[in-house]
């Protein structure tokens, strides 16, 4: 896919995730919207995966440490054919596999996450196993920024650089909002890039809603041999739906009928615009 097509794909994923959240009347809307571009870049371009062989030994691994934003991930995995798309209709319904957090009963999900601060230690273990076995796969771990307050991340950050895991990529969805408000008000994180650099990581900051910048950063990894990479993806919570952007309440706000209609219309407009631009080129 070219950049234009990836952008269209991201908008389609956003429409889909809003639809399943609206249908189930539950979900983490803001965080799913903010990380959609990151998932699109990884799953449709960067990662070495095969939906027909979800357990293929040398596949790249993706760990959603910010497990609550699972709706975007469900939509991506369904779109790629890891499971039937109709199953999205069961999202959050009684007895479903598609619960509100990643569940490794579903093909394409490596580990159960949801409790924050767990993803990076797991990813360090996976990346270390690859190194010890001389396997080529990489491990991508998506974290939230509010999640950075969990001490376990920093235990893992130490281990990642201690073991020189340059096959490990941490990504922070830096949208600057958590459930109670601004990350800097709840528990100040800045200077966050310097913290990761001080822990021995190669840090790259990008606009996390700009697929071109994301691709550039992901493809450049490892920039420094023997160092894990931290991609500081500066995003907007609620991205793509203008009235949800940067509004803390949209952390787990569920859309009413009118909001869904407006949001889908806006994203449809985005897709039309992208398609027209594509034709101009």
């Amino acid at each position: 896919m070219d950049i234009q097509e990836l952008k269209v794909k991201a908008a389609q994923i956003r429409m889909e995730l809003l639809t399943i959240i609206h249908r189930a009347q539950t979900g983490h809307t803001g965080g799913s919207l903010s990380n959609t571009d990151i998932l699109t870049a990884l799953y449709y371009d960067v990662m070495n995966i095969d939906p027909a062989r979800p357990q293929w030994e040398d596949r790249d691994r993706f760990i959603a440490s910010k497990g609550h934003s699972v709706e975007s991930l469900w939509c991506v995995l369904a779109d790629l054919g890891f499971f039937p798309k109709e199953e999205l209709e069961t999202y959050s319904q009684f007895g479903t596999r598609l619960i509100g957090h990643p569940n490794n009963k579903v093909p394409g999900i490596e580990m159960n996450t949801g409790a924050l601060g767990h993803g990076l230690p797991i990813s360090v273990g996976m990346a270390l196993a690859a190194k010890r076995d001389n396997r080529p796969y990489r491990v991508f771990c998506l974290m939230g920024d509010g999640e950075q307050a969990e001490g376990s991340n920093w235990e893992a950050a130490m281990a990642g650089s201690h073991y020189k895991l340059d096959n490990l990529v941490g990504i922070i969805d830096r949208n600057r909002l958590q459930i109670s408000g601004s990350t800097e008000e709840v528990m100040g994180l800045e200077p966050l890039e310097e913290k990761w650099a001080a822990f021995g990581w190669n840090v790259v900051a990008v606009d996390g809603n700009d697929i071109e910048q994301l691709l550039q950063a992901f493809h450049a990894v490892p920039e420094a041999s023997g160092k894990p990479t931290l991609i500081m993806a500066n995003t907007i919570k609620g991205k793509g739906v203008s009235f949800a952007e940067n509004v803390p309440a949209w952390h787990h706000h569920v859309l009413n009928d009118e909001e869904l209609k407006l949001a889908l219309a806006e994203l449809q407009g985005t897709i039309q615009q992208l398609t027209q631009e594509g034709q101009v080129h």
Binding site: N112, L120, V124
Partner: protein
Amino acid sequence: MNKIPNRQVICDTLLDLARDDRDIMVLASDSRGSAAMAPFANTFPEQFVEVGIAEQNIVGMSAGLAHSGKKPFVTSPACFLSMRSIEQVKVDVAYSRTNVKLIGISGGISYGALGMSHHSVQDIAVARAIPGLAIILPADRHETKKLTEALVKYNGGVYVRIGRNPVEDVYESDDYSFEIGKAVTLKKGTELTIIGTGETVRIALDAANALADEGVSARVLNMHTIKPLDKEAILMAARETGRIITVEEHSIHGGLGAAVAEVVVQNHPVPIKILGIPDEPAIAGKTAEVFEHYGITQQNIKQIALDMIGKAGTV
């Protein structure tokens, strides 16, 4: 008297097995010395991982290693491994169904004088509440060897608790049948059953032998696996002997005694006496002194047994 602590047996056995199984890995949290794992670290550096004093990370990393086909053995003090990292045990090991072996070393009141922070007498209770996690306490060095061999073959999350110091042998050799989830009848008996786990099994056996001298026939069960629990052996004991005493190096809340009582009262109620650490920060001292203080002794078990069966004791 045996001079080999069980932690050393685990290391020796893993050293043997790791030569032919390069997926076996040992992780330590600045605990390679206290876990007696330095020989393993020196012999197989590629199969050893040091994480520093970081119990949450050691469990998460192990889950990641297991997910990639490794067979990680986490060796860390039981007090921290069972509590500091319990959410990682719940989510990354049990819920995600990863093949991680958690070896809690220096468990119970092994760190006698170091106080409640270092005592581990809540670990069984905590681990029991986690679905899918096996819990095993080997009785002596022979059982520890057999257990370690069994763990390498067992696919799933397991919490093992061992003590710090050498313990007296229960078995004469490792030539007996050991099966995870299956209690071992160490002594046949008809009037009551004494059930021990881990390093209290020896005390249970000694008490039964002392009772035999008084003409009392006591059965002894070695309940090395607390979960999955051998309900059949417990119910057979309830039906056939009518009285049960449990002995453990653990809080009386939520441990072996509680597990046995849950099975018995729901199926075949009989009197049960639960011996363990009462609901208080355990007194500091050497293990034997602490056991003496709380009546986790051969003499006390014998007295309780005589009281239960209505015979006047001559202790």
